[in-house]
Symmetry: C2
């Protein structure tokens, strides 16, 4: 195992904060959705295209085909093409050295090409998540919070199942899963950091 | 959270060794299947009855009914009565103070009565498990090892689902799940011990 750490997470479970904390503790880069998007942009891809891979983006299909280097390949749909763009970017990050990568099925992308990584899943109970989501979306409307949690989880679940053929959140797919609600973010950062340090 | 730690585990993933290591590190008692059985025996229950709750033990049904203090209660079958005996013993252990309890759906038994615990699941890949199972059963016959792993996992899965209504090994049910094959037993002991110490 090396120091590439992938973090999958439920919405509102603090995966972003924890991943960032681990990267800081280890002094290595942290790549989240924004960074993947920015890198895609810098590479010539329209950032709009990877804004939300769960959305209907058929309108951008022709643009994507025109800029994608693998345009000769048959794509089941645009979402698949976007996944391939993200995959290439994630592989570039991983090949550059130790880092923390959030989401995007990074665990499976690296496994496919034989790059070892420490794969982590972060979850939490609904109460802890609701408090965090309330902060994230700036709302105290319970229905809205609940809808947002369900929507985001469903989208991540579908995305993971589609590209890995595995069950999102099944402990078998990860080296370490943590309940950030019960353990607290700081302890989660400490435990993941230790696992990474032990792998040196 | 207090220092009662429950450990669920796949067969051959080292849950027993890891649980024992955690108990030693924390200086607290470790209760495995043997100790639950011995305690039942000392309490007047026939140890044969809880030898293997997956077995057909209908022949012992009348004996059990005659000794079980809750004999007036309707039992769906003998397995359920045995589960109740084990439950009473586990509650007695937990009420006596901090400890590590292996298997027996201890996580759910404690949750039901409102006793907080740190719930851990230990799993490993087939190669690491096969090596361990080979040692445990003293055989290098691959078919036998494979059959044993499938049988034990299926039995634990069924038992957990039946008494908790939840999915065995689903990360949502545990505070911490660990891949002992990739991480190694020593690191697993260290991480669980830290979680327990942080809960002080």
């Amino acid at each position: 195992m090396n120091k590439i750490i992938t973090i999958s997470r439920e919405y509102g479970a603090g995966g972003h904060s924890i991943g960032k904390g681990v990267a800081e503790a280890l002094g290595i880069p942290f790549y989240d959705r924004d960074i993947v998007r920015e890198t895609a942009k810098a590479s010539g891809f329209d950032p709009e295209l990877i804004e939300d891979e769960g959305e209907d983006i058929s309108k951008t299909d022709s643009i994507l085909k025109s800029i994608c280097s693998a345009s000769s390949t048959y794509y089941r749909d645009t979402q698949e093409a976007i996944h391939d763009v993200q995959k290439a970017i994630i592989l570039r990050f991983a090949q550059a050295g130790p880092c923390v990568i959030l989401g995007r099925c990074a665990d499976e992308i690296l496994r496919e090409v034989g790059i070892e990584s420490i794969n982590v899943f972060i979850h939490a109970d609904d109460v802890h998540r609701a408090v965090r989501v309330s902060e994230l979306i700036g709302s105290t409307n319970a229905t809205e919070i609940q809808r947002m949690m369900a929507k985001k989880d469903s989208s991540r679940h579908t995305y993971y199942s589609r590209y890995t053929g595995k069950k999102w959140g099944d402990s078998k797919n990860y080296h370490l899963t943590l309940d950030s609600g019960a353990l607290g973010y700081d302890l989660c950062v400490k435990l993941i950091t230790e696992v990474a340090q032990a792998a040196e």
